[in-house]
C-alpha cells in the first residue's frame, strides 16, 4: 500500500506535458495545504483514504504537483500530467478538474480560475471551422463590428411575425439576426416554419439592401434533433446555427462541430452565471470560453460590460483576448494563465445583454472592432420601431468607425438621435 501520497512540491517546475490549473481554495476547518492535498487527489488519482490498489508506478507517472500556494489570497496552482485526460474529450476534462472537487466538505469554496492546456490537448480538439476571418469573409464586413439583434419578444411571435421582425432589422441595418435562447420549436412557432419564413425574408433583404444578411436560428435540443435542425437550415440556404452551449452541454456541442455540414456556430451561454458569478466558487467564464473555443464555436457571447448583466470590464476584455489571440499572456489580476493556441482559429466575441446605441462608444473603447454588437430591446424598443432601431444601432457603429462622437453623429441621424433621447449616452 502506498501511504499518504504527498501532492505538494513547491520546487516542482511544470513541464510542457503538464496541464496547469489555477484554483482559488478556501479550506473548511483544515489548513490550506491540507485542502490542496485533497483537491489534487480527488481531481486525479487519489481518494480520501489510503488504498491497497495504488502503486508507486502509478504515483510516479500520474501524480499531479501542487507547485504554488499563496496563503494570503488562496491562489493555488496544480500541474497535472496530460495523460490524466483523454484527448479531444471536453466532458472528461471537466469531470476531472471541474467535477467532484466542488462538493468536497474539506473546502468551503473552490473556484476553477483557468487551465493552461498542453500542445497535445489543444491540438486534439477541432477548434472553430470559420473563426473571425471566416465570419468576415461570409459577411463581407472587413473592419467594423457586426451589428446584430435578437428577435423580440423572446418567445411568442408566429413564424410570419418572427420573419417580419427579422426583416425589419435587416432592412434597418442589422447584419445578423438571432433567435432568443428560449425560443426552440414551439406549439405556435415550429422550427421548420420559422426557418422557411425567415430565410425567405433574408433573401429579400439581401436583394433589397445589396448586403449580406445572416440569420442565426437556435437549434438547441437533443443531439440528433439538433443535427436534423442544422441540416434543415443548411438545405434552406442558411449558413449559421445558434447553440446554447451550456444547456445542451459539451458532448452535444462537440457533436455539432463534428457534423459534416459546414455551418458557422454562434454560441449562447445561458446559465453560465449559475456557476461563474461567485468570485470564490465555481468555474470562471474564462475557462468556459476556452473550452468553447477548443470545441469549435465561431462566435461566443462574453458579456457587454455596459449592459444589464454582471461581469467586470477586466473580465470581459480578458475573455476577448483569450478567444481571439494566438498567444495569450498571463494576467495575474484576471487569474489568466499563459496559453499558446497553436493553429486553433480565433473566435469572434459577441457583446450582448442590455445594450443600446448610446452604449456603443464605451463598448467599442473596451472591446475594439472584432466583435458582434447585439441589441435586442435596444433595437425593438426604439420609439419608431425595429427599422429605426436597427438604423440607430448601425449609425452608432458608423459614428465610432468615423471617429465621431455619438452625440455629434446624432445631429444628422434622426434614428440615432431618438435612441439617445430615449436611453441616454
Amino acid at each position: 500500500m502506498v501511504e499518504n501520497l504527498d501532492y505538494i512540491d513547491l520546487k516542482y517546475r511544470p513541464s510542457k506535458n503538464d496541464v496547469i490549473v489555477e484554483f482559488f481554495i478556501e479550506p473548511n476547518k483544515i489548513t490550506l495545504e491540507k485542502a490542496c492535498q485533497h483537491v489534487a487527489a480527488e481531481s486525479s488519482i487519489g481518494t480520501w483514504t489510503t488504498i491497497s490498489t495504488m502503486t508507486p508506478e502509478i504515483a510516479r507517472k500520474l501524480k499531479p504537483h501542487v507547485f504554488s500556494i499563496n496563503k494570503n489570497s488562496g491562489e493555488v496552482k496544480i500541474a497535472y500530467p496530460q495523460d490524466l485526460f483523454e484527448q479531444g474529450n471536453m466532458s472528461n476534462i471537466f469531470s476531472s478538474i471541474g467535477g467532484n472537487i466542488f462538493g468536497m466538505s474539506s473546502v468551503n469554496n473552490i473556484r476553477l480560475q483557468d487551465m493552461q492546456l498542453t500542445k497535445k490537448l489543444i491540438k486534439s480538439f477541432q477548434g472553430p471551422r470559420f473563426g473571425v476571418n471566416g465570419v468576415r469573409k461570409i459577411t463581407r464586413i472587413k473592419k467594423r463590428p457586426l451589428v446584430g439583434t435578437i428577435v423580440k419578444p423572446k418567445v411568442g411571435l408566429s413564424p410570419e411575425q418572427h420573419a417580419k421582425v427579422a426583416y425589419a432589422a435587416w432592412m434597418g441595418g442589422c447584419d445578423v439576426v438571432k433567435d432568443d435562447e428560449n425560443l426552440a420549436s414551439m406549439t405556435f412557432n415550429k422550427f421548420e416554419d420559422r426557418i422557411r419564413t425567415t430565410l425567405d425574408l433574408r433573401d429579400k433583404a439581401e436583394k433589397e439592401t445589396g448586403e449580406k444578411k445572416i440569420y442565426m436560428p437556435n437549434i438547441s435540443a437533443e443531439t440528433a434533433t439538433m443535427v436534423k435542425r442544422a441540416e434543415f437550415v443548411k438545405a434552406y440556404g442558411g449558413e449559421y446555427i445558434m447553440v446554447d452551449i451550456l444547456t445542451v452541454g459539451w458532448s452535444a456541442l462537440q457533436s455539432i462541430r463534428d457534423m459534416e455540414h459546414e455551418m458557422v456556430i454562434h454560441a449562447h451561454r445561458a446559465g453560465h452565471a449559475a456557476f461563474t458569478r461567485n468570485p470564490k466558487h465555481g468555474i470562471s467564464m474564462l475557462t468556459i470560453a476556452k473550452a468553447a473555443r477548443l470545441c469549435g464555436v465561431d462566435q461566443l457571447h462574453i458579456g457587454a460590460i455596459v449592459g444589464k448583466m454582471e461581469g467586470s470590464a477586466e473580465e470581459v476584455v480578458s475573455m476577448g483576448e483569450e478567444i481571439e489571440q494566438q498567444l495569450v499572456h498571463p494576467k495575474k489580476s484576471a487569474h489568466m494563465l499563459e496559453q499558446e493556441w497553436y493553429n486553433v482559429k480565433p473566435v469572434l466575441a459577441v457583446c450582448s445583454g442590455g445594450l443600446h446605441p448610446g452604449r456603443v462608444d464605451k463598448l467599442m473603447k473596451y472591446m475594439g472592432n472584432n466583435i458582434v454588437i447585439q441589441m435586442g430591446g435596444g433595437i425593438h424598443g426604439h420609439p419608431d420601431g425595429t427599422v429605426a432601431g436597427a438604423a440607430a444601432a448601425r449609425q452608432s457603429v458608423e459614428a465610432i468607425m468615423k471617429r465621431k462622437s455619438l452625440r455629434d453623429y446624432a445631429k444628422t441621424h434622426i434614428e440615432l438621435y431618438k435612441a439617445l433621447a430615449k436611453w441616454g449616452n
Copy 2:
C-alpha cells in the same frame, strides 16, 4: 407598444397548464417586487425595455404570473404557461427558467429551487427505461441495497489491473463495480481493452459466485463516441453504461436514452456542486435530479449524508423521495413542490462519496433499502485489500437487513471487524 407588462398577480391561481417554479431571489438595489418583474420577464417573453413588437395577444397567452412573494425569506413562485417550453427538450427548459436570470445585475443572488412540471411536459420525456424494478430484476436482488464499488485508484490502472480490482470486488461481495468519473479512454487504459478484460472477469465472477454481477463503464465523451462505446459494451455482453450527466450535458444524455440499445444508465453528477452548493444562488440538486429522472437515467448519485461530500440529510432524503415516488408531496423546508410523476418510472438512488462499512447503519436509517451503496476508498482501503473490503461492505448491509448492529455482526465477521477498527462506526 405594450407598455410595462405587469407580471405580479398575487391573486392568480395556477392552472394545470402552468409550470410552477420556486426561486430564491435577493434583489440588487431594487425592491423584491421589481426584481421579480425582471426575473419573470427575462425567463419568458420580456426584456429590459418596452418593445414595439410585443402584442396584447402574446402577453395574454404567454405571460407568466408571479403569484407568491415572501418578503422575509425571498421565496418567490412564478407560474409559466407550459407553451413557453418545447416538449421533450431539457436544454430549452434550462435556457428559459435556468438561463440568463443568473447573470442579471438586478439580482445579487438567485436560486432555482424546484420546478413543478405539467402532465404534458412530464409525458413528453422518456423517463427511465428500467428504473428501480428493472434494476432489481436484472440484478436479482429483491430487497436489500445493492453494494457497489468504484475501481480505485480513480485513474492509472491498466485494463488488466482494472479488471483484477473489479474481479476482487465482485468476489468479495460487491454487486456492482463502476469506473470513476475521470476515467475515460486513456493512453494507458483504452476503453475497448478495459471493457473486454473487465467483462471477461465479470463472467468469471458470476460463475464462481452464482450471483449476478454488474460492471458500469464510463462512456462519457462526445455524443457519437458515447453511442459507439455503449454499443461496444452491449456487444460484449454488458447491460450497464455510466454517464457523467452534467459534464456531457442534457442533450447528449437525452441522445443516450434515445439509443435503441436497451442499457441501464447509471448517472454520475460531477460538477453539480459548482452551482448547487450555495444555498442562495444557482440551481438546486433537487431540480437536477428531477431533470435526470425525466431524461431517463436509471440510477442517480444523490449524496451520502455521512460521507466526504457536503449535502444535508434533509436535502438528500428529499431527493431520494423525488426520484423514487410517483406522487411527491410538497415540503416547504426542503423547497420541494408537489409533483405527480404519472407513468415515469422511479430512479434508484446511489449513495456514494467517502462511505465505509461503519457508516452503513446510519445511511440506511436515512435512506432505506432502495439504494445503491457505493464505497471506493471504503473498500479498497481495507487493511486486507479489496476482497476483504468488499466482504466487509456486504456484511455491513447484511447486518442491517438482519436488524443487527454493525458491532455485534463484526464479532463473527472478521472483515467487517477490521473495517470498523480502521474507520470507526
